[in-house]
């Protein structure tokens, strides 16, 4: 009997395991569909930790919630992970329209480098500046949605570089302590006002990645800091040094927890990472600002920026007339016919290519059909909707903004009052977009130390520069003087640092040319020529800019509204003749600018002459109208005379017959 049990037991266990696996697989993606009922689904759910164990209120040493295991019970986590927010690392599949990059800044060495794993011109891959997944998180995790770099195995991101030997073993241990930074589903979909991304950012700053989502949601508080623990910390032996304390009142008798999950994320959730602060009226004058007109009308971000289970959120860049990217990837990822219906044009004017009749008509959510009175249609061929409707109204010289991700806005309380001003984000810059139209952009001027080989410039990792030239860059000064937020850099300093970089012993393969040291700032490439610092133009020094669409201003505040041609066609119009600030640590006190026309690829003299003609436009109108009236009156006079002749002739004919 015992032998029979011994024989059958493994089979029973195997079958049981298989059945459980099948059941779990069956539930996967259960929540990704829609049964047709519009009522929101109540998320009274079990919480699961990263080891697949259910979290219960009575647990002595509970672990933090794992989004993969909790949300993944009903939603297809891996499908979500392919969405825009989560796929920018090694799983990168699409570049899409250029967007706001991550910004690697080190003020002390006068460095600001746009970083992105997408193939955006002007950005550098994290690997180019020695950022592996771990270091990337250390830099950017405060406003990181999780997933991607947060879930990479320690060496996974470096395999592509063919440099596995350089994997820092210490980082492997740190990953174990900090845990994976899984996709934080709650950061977007948790409508509870208790959701606090500032707390998540604090946990990330402590390298408590595993805990970030749990603490941010308000489900638990955490004591302990992963970054302070030894590399060899092991909770099994050293005892729990990061203590998770759940709010027990949140658990019901079945250890289920109610989470106020919504399909459409509230705008408040988006704002944490996607806010922009206008620096013309910061701080106490913040209250004067209006919200985006769509928000003021009661809409939310996700009304236009929609997505399916794949989380490929529509970015508004595909309008009914054009897909500017012409990439097969885009065509695979998006149903262009549907996505285009939620662009500016799609909502307000309809998407003629849509299958759905309603989408062809436009007017989603009551979007008014614009009249554009007095605006010749040629404007719609040359300008994007955003050119007139979005961003800050242009002034003689560009303004500055701070963005949530670049300046780490939104961190409160224990974070302290950190208020970084660099990088200076210049706005609005009216530049040519991928679709050939002119639209407003935010822009930064990259500045970094680097090397040039065969004309290709690559930035140096900030830590390496600190190591090479600590004295020249004034590392020892505790509070260096700042001018226009920069620590000023002189040409002499540049020369000295370039010399030091030139003396650095690079690990070169045989036959490789020795890289030439360079510094990039303010649109110029600085290098040494016979011991002297010279500056030249170079693609690598070109500013990085990305199109913006928000805040959208009301129609009355749009450029050219109600026939105000002079908004753009005046000889001083900032839209065309504005000056774009050049931001550089070299002579930062001096006002350095570039003409706006350079970015719009416009012929300045032509537009000056064109603006000049607008001085005579009122005369032209008067002359043409008076002449037309005169012509009309003379024509009418002769028409009446002709009619008189016809009447007389007809009268004579009748009389003669009688």
């Amino acid at each position: 009997m015992i032998q029979v049990i011994r024989t059958l037991l493994p089979l029973v266990l195997l079958f049981g395991g298989f059945a459980v696996g099948q059941a779990a697989e069956k539930d996967k993606g259960l929540g990704d569909g829609h049964d047709g009922n519009r009522a929101s689904i109540t998320h009274l759910i079990e919480l699961w930790d990263d080891r697949g164990k259910q979290i219960k209120s009575a647990d002595a040493q509970p672990r933090p919630v794992s989004m993969r295991n909790t949300c993944g019970k009903c939603h297809d986590y891996d499908t979500m992970a392919a969405g825009w927010h989560f796929h920018s690392g090694s799983t990168n599949v699409l570049s899409g329209r250029v967007g706001e990059p991550w910004m690697l800044t080190d003020n002390r060495i006068r460095t600001q480098i746009p970083i992105s794993n997408r193939d955006w011109k002007g950005t550098y891959k994290p690997g180019d500046v020695d950022l592996n997944a771990w270091k990337f998180l250390k830099k950017f995790s405060s406003h990181f949605p999780g997933g991607n770099y947060g879930e990479m195995a320690p060496s996974e991101d470096e395999e592509g570089e063919g440099d596995e030997e350089e994997v820092d073993t210490s980082e492997i241990f740190r990953w174990e302590i900090s845990g994976k930074y899984e996709i934080n589903c709650l950061a977007c979909h948790h409508a509870d006002r208790k959701q606090n991304q500032s707390d998540s950012a604090l946990q990330a700053a402590k390298e408590n990645y595993r805990w970030a989502a749990t603490v941010g949601s308000g489900l638990a508080s955490v004591k302990g800091t992963a970054s302070e623990l030894e590399d060899f910390y092991d909770p099994e032996f050293d005892g729990q040094k990061i203590i998770t304390s759940y709010d027990k009142s949140r658990f019901d008798s079945e250890n289920k927890v109610f989470l106020d999950i919504v399909r459409k994320p509230p705008s408040n959730r988006c704002y944490f990472c996607h806010s922009t602060q206008d620096l013309q009226t910061p701080g106490k004058d913040e209250w004067v600002h209006n919200e985006d007109i769509h928000m003021a009308s009661g809409m939310s971000c996700s009304d236009c920026h929609r997505n399916g289970a794949d989380h490929m959120i529509s970015r508004g860049d595909i309008d009914p007339s054009k897909n500017p990217h012409d990439s097969d990837g885009y065509l695979k990822a998006y149903d262009l016919k549907k996505v285009a219906s939620f662009s500016c044009q799609g909502c307000h004017m309809g998407n003629p290519g849509a299958d759905d009749l309603a989408a062809r008509m436009g007017g989603h959510l009551g979007a008014p059909v614009p009249k554009h009175k007095g605006i010749p249609p040629v404007h719609f061929e040359k300008l994007s909707c955003t050119a007139c409707h979005s961003g800050r109204l242009p002034t003689e010289s560009t303004a500055r903004v701070r963005t949530a991700r670049m300046h780490k806005l939104g961190r409160h309380g224990p974070h302290g009052r950190i208020s970084p001003q660099l990088p200076h984000v210049i706005t609005p810059v009216f530049a040519r977009m991928a679709n050939g139209k002119i639209g407003p952009h935010n822009m930064i001027w990259p500045s970094f130390w680097g090397t040039q080989t065969n004309g290709v410039v690559k930035p140096l990792a900030p830590n390496l520069v600190r190591e090479i030239a600590p004295d020249e860059l004034g590392m020892e000064i505790a509070e260096p003087e700042r001018v226009n937020d920069w620590i000023e850099l002189t040409e002499k300093q540049i020369g000295n640092v370039l010399n030091l970089i030139g003396e650095y012993e690079w690990e070169l393969e045989e036959g490789d040319p020795k890289p030439e040291p360079v510094y990039v700032a303010g649109g110029r490439l600085y290098s040494l020529s016979n011991g002297l610092v010279i500056s030249t133009k170079h693609d690598a020094a070109e500013p990085y800019k990305w199109p913006i669409a928000h805040d959208v201003r009301p129609a009355a505040q749009s450029l050219g509204s109600n026939g105000r041609c002079a908004d753009c066609h005046d000889k001083d119009s900032p839209f065309i003749f504005g000056q774009v600030e050049v931001d550089t640590p070299i002579k930062p006190a001096e006002k350095q600018t570039v003409a706006m026309t350079k970015f719009g690829e416009l012929d300045r003299s032509y537009f000056q002459m064109f603006a000049f003609t607008f001085l005579f436009r009122p005369w032209l109108k008067v002359v043409v109208i008076i002449s037309s009236i005169l012509l009309g009156m003379v024509l009418l006079l002769y028409a009446l005379k002709g009619l008189d002749t016809v009447i007389k002739a007809a009268g004579k004919k009748v009389s003669s017959k009688q």
Binding site: K373, N562, T613, V624, L631, L635
Partner: protein
């Protein structure tokens, strides 16, 4: 579409003029010339200096307007833009003013007299007409038609500069401007041809 219509209509009118020139040389016209019943000069040969100047300016500016407006569209298929647009818009008021002066100066001479009216009535009723009744009719009619077309051509341009018409309205105005300009050009070509023939006859 507009490009095709323009090419076809311009070709037809030019071809018509050439055929007419060959089929009906000036010598034949001289034989058909009849005294003007109303006692007014039967051709535009005797107009004053101002009207001659206005006439020259109007046709000169119309020619440049035609070249700038239709050149790019007909040859390259692209809409008018850049410096060409500036020249086009800059000349437009010159043309409209000179057209106004021309109308005032010429309208009396171009009025239809008894013969013309008889000829026109016969043509409208599809009756056979006396040659003397229609000899002056064509250039007079083309004059009035051209003048009538100047009004939509100029108004369709200037009204678009006021915040009255929306996008659809602007497109309609542009369409109206294009087609009325084409019609004006064609009528002006015929008129010039007829007047030049008469001028040749007078001299």
């Amino acid at each position: 579409m507009f490009q095709t219509i323009s090419w076809v209509s311009l070709s037809l009118v030019l071809a018509g003029i050439v055929v007419h020139w060959i089929a009906s040389p000036s010598s034949l016209l001289a034989k058909r010339e009849a005294p003007d019943a109303g006692g007014r000069p039967s051709s535009g040969c005797g107009v004053g200096k101002l009207s001659t100047l206005a006439c020259a300016v109007a046709f000169g500016s119309l020619f440049i307007l035609f070249v700038t407006g239709f050149g790019g569209r007909l040859l390259l298929g692209e809409a008018i833009h850049g410096y060409t647009l500036m020249v086009h818009v800059g000349l437009a008021p010159v043309f409209v003013i000179s057209a106004g002066v021309m109308l005032v100066a010429w309208s009396y001479q171009c009025g239809l007299n008894e013969n013309d009216r008889r000829g026109l009535a016969s043509l409208l009723c599809l009756r056979k007409t006396a040659k003397a009744d229609t000899v002056n009719l064509a250039w007079k009619l083309t004059f009035w038609l051209a003048m009538a077309l100047v009004v939509p051509v100029s108004l369709s341009m200037v009204l678009g500069m006021f915040p009255i018409f929306g996008t659809h309205g602007q497109e309609t105005l542009l369409c109206l401007h294009q087609y009325s300009s084409l019609a004006l050009t064609l009528v002006a070509m015929i008129h010039v041809y007829l007047v030049v023939r008469r001028k040749a006859l007078c001299s």
